[in-house]
Symmetry: C2
Subunit: 264 residues, 2 copies
Amino acid sequence: MSGFSHVSRLVPGEEGVFHGDIHPEWTIGGKPNGGYLLAMLTRAALTVVPHEHVVAASAHFLHSPDPGPVEVTAEVLRVGRSASQVRTRLVQGGLPCIESIAMVGTLDPSAKPFWAGGMPTPSARAQAECYRLDTRGASGFTVAIMGQVDLRIDPDDLGFGVGQPRGLGELRGWLELPGEDFDPVSLLYAVDAFPPATFDVQLSGWVPTLELTAYVRALPAPGPVEILHKARLIDDNRVDESCYVWDSTGRLVAQSTQLAGIRL
Amino acid sequence: MSGFSHVSRLVPGEEGVFHGDIHPEWTIGGKPNGGYLLAMLTRAALTVVPHEHVVAASAHFLHSPDPGPVEVTAEVLRVGRSASQVRTRLVQGGLPCIESIAMVGTLDPSAKPFWAGGMPTPSARAQAECYRLDTRGASGFTVAIMGQVDLRIDPDDLGFGVGQPRGLGELRGWLELPGEDFDPVSLLYAVDAFPPATFDVQLSGWVPTLELTAYVRALPAPGPVEILHKARLIDDNRVDESCYVWDSTGRLVAQSTQLAGIRL
């Protein structure tokens, strides 16, 4: 197994270029996970500004890269007192693959949620009661990445695995990164780690991410994270999905929205 | 009154620079509305690619510009068969104010929603039963923009106006642009037009947008749009808000998520 920190690391090169290596096992049907790539881009952003934590990242996916070497560039847009913004790009073989803007700030370890009345609440069964997904994907792809992480789905939400989606468009469960705890950067992977929530509406082929926006709301406590991944509207061959990530204390630590392509 | 098309227009200048003029009446406490500015940026994106409709736009707000002249630049990131991506920037007096990435594609006028099971449904009272906001803002700001648009709030959601927020963090109502129908670009204003939904939690001063991501899901039918603006989590002096926009036929035509700063 190749841990998240290892497969998402960047090596500084010349003239502000960082070198990364997309791991062949962090893939779905041979293509890397989008959240994993966004984490890689964000590592570059964090090196060029004085602030410490990614707070918001918005990425547009232009071209899906293959496993192997990539170059990441980071351009500072603004350095502020409490936050900075950075533009990053991931390129493979000269082809721009992902463009992102990150807001980097400070997540106060002593902050407490003030009001959470508009958020869903964690509702998955205990981690041990959930089913761990393996590398045989429900849609016919080999999901190699499931051999690298511990991703579990609530049995109530697993109908898609036997061809019986419920029509709710919701997947709940847990995620753990073997050998490491979550931090703000790996939460960017967590918000995109689950199978498409549309599988609980209708099974389909690849659901490629077009745009992914993630907010990191708090520093996560050690331990696994609970996840709710929710499809909302399928229209004109596109779907939007919302993802919510709670740490082991039940605090909402990250969330995302994405627009993806889908053919049904 | 100065209509949306007028105040958001751009004039092409030299070397790919577009000139815009932030209208002093499209402001809240003297500062322009963020969705209005995102629409202005997106107009530049639409001029440089072959596709017609903005489908997704992600913006980070670096510095709040003042009314007056601005320059907008647009750089093509990718031209694809079905969609293109463009990076845009709004600058005032040499200072970068907003950075955005837009996905421009085609919204199929014949598409029908396939599944909307994860979306809220319109629930505001009829437009005529809602209260039109005027330029006297609840938080002490002059909200000049309310003299330019017809924005109405469901009376059930108006407790904040008399110092009695309900704690639900939800504002429902209607928006109309006098003299013009909505199109994909003006929907980018619609997703950010309502007062902060946090007013229904606790009144505060300015709630500055840090990041705004909008998806346009369908071409809107003529007429007013219904809006639900919803706060979700307030933590560490930041809040995220979701906005949903339905056209006059009840179809979800645009949605957004934003992260904003808040002091309570």
